[in-house]
Symmetry: C2
Subunit: 433 residues, 2 copies
Amino acid sequence: MPLELNSSAPGFEDAFKDLLAAKREIQEDVQNSVAAILADVRERGDAAVLEHTARFDRVTLTADTMRVTAAEIDAALASIDPGLLQALELAAERIEDFHRRQKPDALSYTDHAGVRLGARWTSIGAVGLYVPGGTAAYPSSVLMNALPAKVAGVERVTMVVPTPDGKLNPLVLAAAKLAGVTEIYRIGGAQAVGALAYGTATIGAVDKIVGPGNAYVAAAKRQVFGTVGIDMIAGPSEILVVADAANDPAWIAADLLSQAEHDTSAQAILITDDGAFAEAVKRAVDGHLKTLPRAAIAGESWRGHGAIIVVSKLDDAIPLVDRLAPEHLELAVAEPDALAARIRNAGAIFLGRHTPEAIGDYVAGPNHVLPTARSARFSSGLNLLDFMKRTTLVGCDPGALAAIGPAAVALANAEGLGAHALSVSIRLNGAPQ
Amino acid sequence: MPLELNSSAPGFEDAFKDLLAAKREIQEDVQNSVAAILADVRERGDAAVLEHTARFDRVTLTADTMRVTAAEIDAALASIDPGLLQALELAAERIEDFHRRQKPDALSYTDHAGVRLGARWTSIGAVGLYVPGGTAAYPSSVLMNALPAKVAGVERVTMVVPTPDGKLNPLVLAAAKLAGVTEIYRIGGAQAVGALAYGTATIGAVDKIVGPGNAYVAAAKRQVFGTVGIDMIAGPSEILVVADAANDPAWIAADLLSQAEHDTSAQAILITDDGAFAEAVKRAVDGHLKTLPRAAIAGESWRGHGAIIVVSKLDDAIPLVDRLAPEHLELAVAEPDALAARIRNAGAIFLGRHTPEAIGDYVAGPNHVLPTARSARFSSGLNLLDFMKRTTLVGCDPGALAAIGPAAVALANAEGLGAHALSVSIRLNGAPQ
């Protein structure tokens, strides 16, 4: 059964701390096998990638057949039900539009000392997108990872997707095509991460790798970090719903289950100011679980990690939300904007009774790759800036250097760094202009 | 002797690849001892921090004396030479001014489907700043790490600095005070990182830890990542100077040595289109090395990791720069802006003959914490956004949900996620508003 807490009850603080500290994931220790695969790919390139693919995915490929052909991609797109294709297109348009509005401004000015200063953003040159195979192959994830890269101006976006037993979800290829990704290799696991990080004769090395994956993929991304950039390593999904008694309990129950159904390690939490409403939501959850296709997973998540917290008044929810720092926060209350303005930590906020979190998973526009496991305290969801980087610029003429140079010389000498001081002072002391 | 390459010579590509792949750092394996210290601090709090401090720093503290007092901070500030204090103040003002101009804009609009969309930035709640002790205690680093946090609006900035044998650089305390940091603990190493990440009875836990440190500190930051955010793990410093023959060789030689003197693992590279100028710079380096206080370190770095690359024309430097992706790039050429515009990968660019890199280490304004080891291909220097995070917002009314909800239902069903579909469809089917 889900944990039930009342914020006014004795012992609440300790129980809440336990909830915050609870680990929901079992970390599989795959470090050593991943390190061996990466070293092998680094050394032997394509040959290693092909052998590991044969072993893990039971697929025999050659350097020539690793890449998905344009004809296969087109065929996948053509095979999609037209209604579904329209839905994918609407999602792609809306995601692209939202991310296009995030373009950062360059900075460029000359200050009163005559120093020219600036900062500019450039796109990353090449990005690798990992897409899981099998049941976890979500076309929505392809759009959410590939479109921001395209909008940022990344010139080369390369996708890898394993095809266990040769199976490849046509929706994934269709989403890739809609997002403008046409360089796709049917490989996965640590070997695919290694190919992207180090490059092989067939697959050019990239500068950054993004996208979700299993324990092997996550470990491989951590190990190649430094050689390439990586995105966050996402944990199991979470939803926190703050709801008053004016909601339909069946709606809120569906919202809680929409994250619980992802994974038995997912977490759904309800905070409400009404004990009777909490009971009604609990009953509605049990009702939905009788009919949902993924009821077994959702039920296990809800019973194992779900929680209901009853507070005396909605304001009392605010510090609890900030400490939980949820990936997804639904504010199903009368004045959601006012409440949202008082909350610091959340990956994404869904405002009001008619904004189920799932709308953000697909078509709202903002990214659905969001910080989990309380990391919204210090990090952000995937966005355009994850595919760009910033270079600062400084330009002095002799006058500007004369204005600020002596302070640099004083500080360099105080830090005992004589060559730093010399590189400034040599230009100040009447040397040729 | 530094490596000498000519981009037109046979075998250049292989030699350049070796230069790119060269590892300059010896990774000390301190994983297990760091893990033990962190576990101890997590379990025993202050007591563990104090014991490890006694052992590593040879300083006996209590929970009450761990914190540097306001009187000590004021005394340190009062002890600074007035000229040096003015230099620190100028640096602080300029750094603060540059970072203040980076404040990101919030996004808020309603699209044609009636969906309210937005993104807002909030500061991180609490940040821990690690400052190394002993000779590597640089007041400029305190300013560069603390001021962006303050400008971002971080409410609590907590500094830790080890005091081996009780010694603490007064300049570090003075810089902290100028940056508005007054919560300072005289602890360091993995135990200080653990105290910041997990909190103790005396030291409140933070949300993110930034700042440079030795192998123990770097390993500890990696291990607590997830519990808290961390900044990049910086490698040895680097400078790449692109210079034509119109420069004074002695100036360019000083610039190369200004990074070489940091560390025997540092790297200084010159690219020039003139072989005679290259020779002149080499001679000038040898000349400077006769007088510089840190000549032993700078010389070892220059001989072990330095390089001079002669290209036929300056344009040929551009792809080499992008592949090296240097932390610091100096463009000591006639038209530095035009050249800078064609370069993608560099942490910071210094424009023209009168802009030595060291000006950026202290007083220019942009941050001196910059991506090393070719990571400027995918990452940026420390900036205001490192102390903020972004929350996206979505708000639908019944009409907006009716407009985009059916597409979400179609995609959720295609992905086999029935509760996702239900959470939208239950609101579309005439349920109470």
